[in-house]
Amino acid sequence: MTNISSNAVSAEREGPLVPEAPQAPGPKAKPAWRSLNFGPRMWVSIGMIVAIAALAFIGPLFYPYGPDQKVGGLYDSPTPEHILGTENFGYDVLAVLMASTRNSLINGLLAGTLATVIGVLIGILAGYVGGWIEEALMGITNIVLAIPAIVILILISMSLQSTDIPFLKGIVGLALVIGITSWPWTARAVRAQASSVGTREHIDVAKLSGARTGGILIFDVLPYLASYVVMAWVLQLASAILAESTLSMLGLGPSGTNSLGMQLHWALAFQAVATGAWWAFLPPTIVLTLISFALLYLQSSLDEVFNPRLRRGKKKNLAKAAERRADAARKLAEQIEGRQEVSA
């Protein structure tokens, strides 16, 4: 006991081992959001997403051709009038591309949001409430997680194909199927976080002041998970959009609608690649790549904003830090040597 306190005192007397770098005079207090380190990555990815959304939602307002307007034959080359030519059914590729992008984004939003909501709900309940509810929910989650989602997606959408309900065959039905099959990893990750938040003191305070479980979950647990949930949502968006295109290319896409996957599906079915009709398959490929890249890039830059340990400094700063560490190590070694001399 005395040892520890004397050590503490001596440490205090000796002062910090590393001389603190002189602090630059701080600027005037910034608003909280300014101190978030939104790197250039974040802005690049947001810019890409905005551009794609503009293509999907604003583009059709200004483009003279509709996606269901036959304007030519099989794979007409691009002309000034139809800058991306026509696809296999003679529709204008750019018009189809806009409609496809819109449907794919809507599908991603619906499915991704649904998956995130289910995942957060199950995860937060399991993590916070615990007990047999946790056991049961996590049992289900782990089992669904172990079975590859694509398998369930293939089997369900194959059954949906032969139903007579047009709603289920369309983009919304597909989004529902994707949403209810892709929540498990979110649930599992949220549970881990929620159960650690659940042991913090402010939860006890909330309980003592008589808050109900629902209120605690929403006002005292969820805000601590918000950054994580946002990142999970972005990932779910990306994976839902990709799941749609994978299914569509396997021939299980939404029937009678445009989507990026359906566009690629038809392009492959009508040999666009082999015949060199680049305008038919490159645009959806590129848009799909951009969407996926932008969302994952956004997720990784969000991760760096929320998790400073992943942040890399500039090389200059790294070198400085290495210097500081070397300096500290030298000082420490000197001190140890000094003490050894004293004790000897």
């Binding site: 089992i143 172990a146 139903t163 290319m249 396997l250 690649v273 082999a274 890039y297």
Partner: protein
């Protein structure tokens, strides 16, 4: 003691998952109104077959696939035939057994995926570790390139490579797995012919794998570089070589898991690439089965994908039980 309980609980969980997967695999195609045979027979009808012939085909299929039995009996039959390795007969290529179709397709998938995963894993890890360690411009360029490759859908890269390298430049044959007029055989001529067709799909999968592994390894290594034990060891003046080894050991564990898991997703991981290149693997088999409503084949493919993933996950968890001391120490592992 802890280890034994851990292994037992993992075994129970994975058996449970397997049972659920098999039940879903059995049940989902049967949930549709009518049954798969209806779909097949009605598509025959569109082909112009007479109603009498349709009726005969219908009854034969119903008997053959046991669909006139009650559901429970069907399930028992299904289970016992799976256990005997009997995956039924194909609708589209009746009466070819499904296992024959699988046996023709699976090798093509493995030949593409196994080297792509292994080489991609090694190259990706080295790149990622170097990028994390060096930092600066090297890190930036490696990270951005890897991120592009790892985040673009794998089939998009396939399409772009196919168009650029095969159709435009003519360096590779545009699709297929061997020249017309040859058939698969164990001969040097066939091998060298197939190799030409193999390069492009292999490359497209390899690049995606390298990207994914490099991104993962980089962030693991950065995490380790900033951790307390590294700072502490550095302050003690431990040399760079030794530090790199410590960091590497710690960052490797999740990467080894990643390798095992991607070997598990091997069968189902390149479905669309095969489609794009018209490569006769499991993806093409699945696509053709879907478009001809060949339920037995679809069910067999999905079952194989599921079992591969479950086995790989299970193997990883068991391995972890032996490797990771934290699991040995705890009474019951994290579920």
């Amino acid at each position: 003691m802890g280890l034994r309980r851990y292994l037992a609980s993992k075994t129970v969980w994975y058996l449970g998952a397997l049972v659920v997967a098999v039940v879903l695999n059995f049940l989902l195609p049967r949930l549709i109104p009518g049954n798969p045979v209806d779909v097949i027979v009605s598509s025959l009808g569109q082909g112009g077959a007479s109603s009498e012939a349709q009726q005969r085909v219908y009854e034969q299929f119903m008997r053959e696939f046991g669909l006139d039995q009650p559901m429970w009996n069907q399930f028992v039959t299904y289970l016992s035939s799976i256990l005997h390795g009997n995956l039924g007969k194909s609708f589209a290529f009746y009466p070819t057994p499904v296992s024959d179709l699988i046996a023709q397709s699976l090798p093509w998938t493995l030949v593409l995926q196994l080297p792509a995963i292994m080489i991609g894993w090694i190259v990706g890890n080295v790149l990622g570790a170097v990028a994390a360690y060096k930092g600066g411009g090297w890190d930036k360029s490696v990270f951005t390139t890897s991120l592009v490759f790892s985040s673009m859908p794998y089939y998009c890269l396939s399409i772009i490579l196919l168009y650029a390298l095969a159709v435009q430049l003519g360096w590779f044959p545009p699709g297929g797995a061997y020249s017309l007029g040859t058939s698969p055989e164990w001969s040097w001529a066939f091998f060298s012919d197939a190799l030409q067709y193999w390069w492009l799909p292999f490359l497209s999968l390899l690049l995606i794998n390298i990207g994914g592994q490099a991104v993962g390894m980089r962030s693991m290594a950065i995490y380790e570089l900033g951790s307390d034990y590294v700072n502490y060891s550095r302050s003690l003046g431990i040399g760079d070589a030794k530090m790199t080894r410590y960091i590497f050991n710690n960052a490797m564990l999740p990467q080894i898991t990643g390798l095992a898991l991607s070997i598990g997703t091997m069968v189902g991981g390149a479905l669309i690439t095969e489609l794009v290149f018209n490569y006769p693997g499991m993806g093409t088999l699945l696509f053709n089965a879907i478009s001809s409503n060949d339920y037995p084949v679809v069910q067999a493919v999905t079952l194989i994908i599921t079992v591969a993933v479950l086995v790989a996950n299970y193997a990883v968890e068991i391995l972890y039980g032996f490797i990771d001391p934290r699991i040995r120490a705890s009474k019951s592992g994290e579920k």
